[in-house]
Point group: C2
Chain length 325, copies 2
């Protein structure tokens, strides 16, 4: 069976890192947190979690290190911890875009057993106090499997994530970044545009704003600098925006010509309902990186890692779920 | 004091009409519903509400008639009820766009005491069973005050709406239609575009779609033909779309040039937070149509109608709330 982790360090105790600290402690793992912000660190310490005085201390002796700081702070954090990272430690992260993290780790810690990760969980809120230990239950969690990823480390993390109730999705950095352009970057861009353009209707419009404005602009509550780290430098977001702009422009022109927005409304409705109605069935997967990546590409995730013929890599059996139609 | 209503008819028992039937009954009003769809009529009748066998029957003897059918059915309904509408009855409606309703009523029932209305309540769901009697509590409710609107009828409706816990907003058909283009039409267009464009990311993207996609495309669950009636023929939606498209295009070009979406994210965030942080204070209003319309334009609403010097129109006092900054 893949190794389990004896001592985990979580660096960054915001919404995601803080929730992970809580989820791991709840799952019986030995976990130490760290956050340079005394507010976040104090919030976690105040309700009884172990919080180290420095990233260096948190990481010392850890066999799993979770990088949960905002992307702009990643490089400095890697530099600070690099002397105390144990040679065999597994590193992972929880950032939205995977390509920039992969590059930074390869540059700073070229020999690290790094497996990028991205939990599709969270809200528009920030900070330790906005989190909770069940945040990742049933949440998809992109788990990056590059050609040079250590498969043993990847499987160990997959086991851990299943243990937290999350759904590990095997994919590459490039494929996950392209996919989330449409389901994270684009909804944030549309939400910001709505928040802003809605405001231009004057006080009457502001007082009439209700459900559709409120839910459509909810993500504009997110701290803007976080939104930028989820969008900037992702080329797939450009084509996602092009597609959305083309639909909006076509509806705009149709309205101007006295026509109906019904075609867009019907297509959007059909898309949303098809998404909601997806059905999934169990599947048995080989322990093979390319087969796993294809499983992720097909919309599947991992549900369990079990011994089939023995404890070695080639003797394991992976159970998963995937769309069936 | 303005008249109160002794017998109310609600025509159309979908989400809004059905909720209104329940809210009125709960408020102690005598109310009869009608819906041509036996499913909706049966649902209301099944839990004890009075439902007439025809629109004609429902309307007979009513001193307030609420038109709560979808816009495309309005004209036929007006034709069906016109012989049984009492000469002094007040008519109102609950549709999203006010200009087309106003035109239809002026054409079909030119002498009706009509006061258009639009409750800013509801969800993406449809049908009687999706509604509930508290749907309008704290909901803004545009109440149309045209130069030729009967002020006595308008005040009677305002009292009724306050009684249901709603916030009557005095405005004209043209002004409300322009305002809701930005806070109803636009969020629906953006939600449809997101639902649709998100789907183009393949199965991996569909499995990674989470909070921001889910809330951003929620309104795409609405029946498409309803969305079309809220958008089609509203010229203000064209300029709202132009504004949103301009922001999205600018961010798209910035991304393509290697820049950051931070300016859009900051502007959107600021707009949303300013909206959330609006504060309101009480105000005393004269019973004067133009002063009331200005109050709505300024983002205000009515909270109560009380006697000041006597029961006559000119002796009343209107209490309201409006933004204070």
């Amino acid at each position: 069976m893949p190794d389990s982790f004896d001592r985990i360090a979580v660096l960054g105790l915001g919404l995601i890192g803080g929730s992970l600290l809580q989820a791991l402690a709840r799952g019986g793992y030995t976990v130490t947190g760290y956050d340079p912000d005394p507010v976040e660190a104090g919030a976690a310490r105040g309700i009884g979690y172990t919080v180290a005085a420095s990233a260096f201390d948190a990481v010392a002796g850890a066999d799993l290190i979770v990088l949960a700081m905002p992307l702009p702070h990643l490089d400095a954090a890697l530099e600070a911890i690099s002397p105390s990272v144990a040679p065999n430690a597994v590193l992972t992260d929880v950032g939205t875009l995977k390509a920039p993290v992969l590059q930074a780790v390869r540059r700073r810690l070229p020999r690290a057993r790094f497996v990028g990760g991205h939990p599709l969980a969270g809200t528009e809120q920030s900070g330790f106090l906005a989190g909770h230990p069940l945040l990742f239950r049933d949440a998809p969690w992109a788990l990056i499997l590059e050609p040079d990823t250590d498969l043993q480390a990847w499987l160990s993390l997959a086991v851990l994530l299943c243990d937290l109730g999350a759904k590990p999705v095997p994919t590459t950095a490039a494929e996950q970044d392209a996919a989330i352009a449409r389901v994270i970057g684009l909804p944030h861009m549309l939400g910001e545009a709505l928040a802003l353009t809605g405001l231009r209707g004057g006080e009457l419009g502001l007082s009439l704003a209700a459900g559709s404005y409120t839910s459509g602009s909810r993500v504009a509550r997110t701290r803007p600098e976080l939104v930028a780290t989820w969008c900037d430098g992702n080329p797939a977001l450009i084509s996602a925006l092009d597609d959305a702009i083309a639909w909006l422009t076509s509806s705009r022109d149709t309205l101007a010509a006295g026509g109906s927005v019904l075609p867009l409304a019907e297509a959007g409705h059909r898309a949303r309902m098809e998404w909601e109605r997806r059905e999934f069935g169990p599947v048995d997967l080989p322990v093979d990186a390319e087969a796993l990546r294809q499983h992720g590409r097909d919309g599947g995730w991992i549900t369990a890692v079990v011994e089939k013929d023995g404890p070695e890599l080639g003797e394991l059996r992976l159970l998963g779920m995937r769309p069936v139609r």
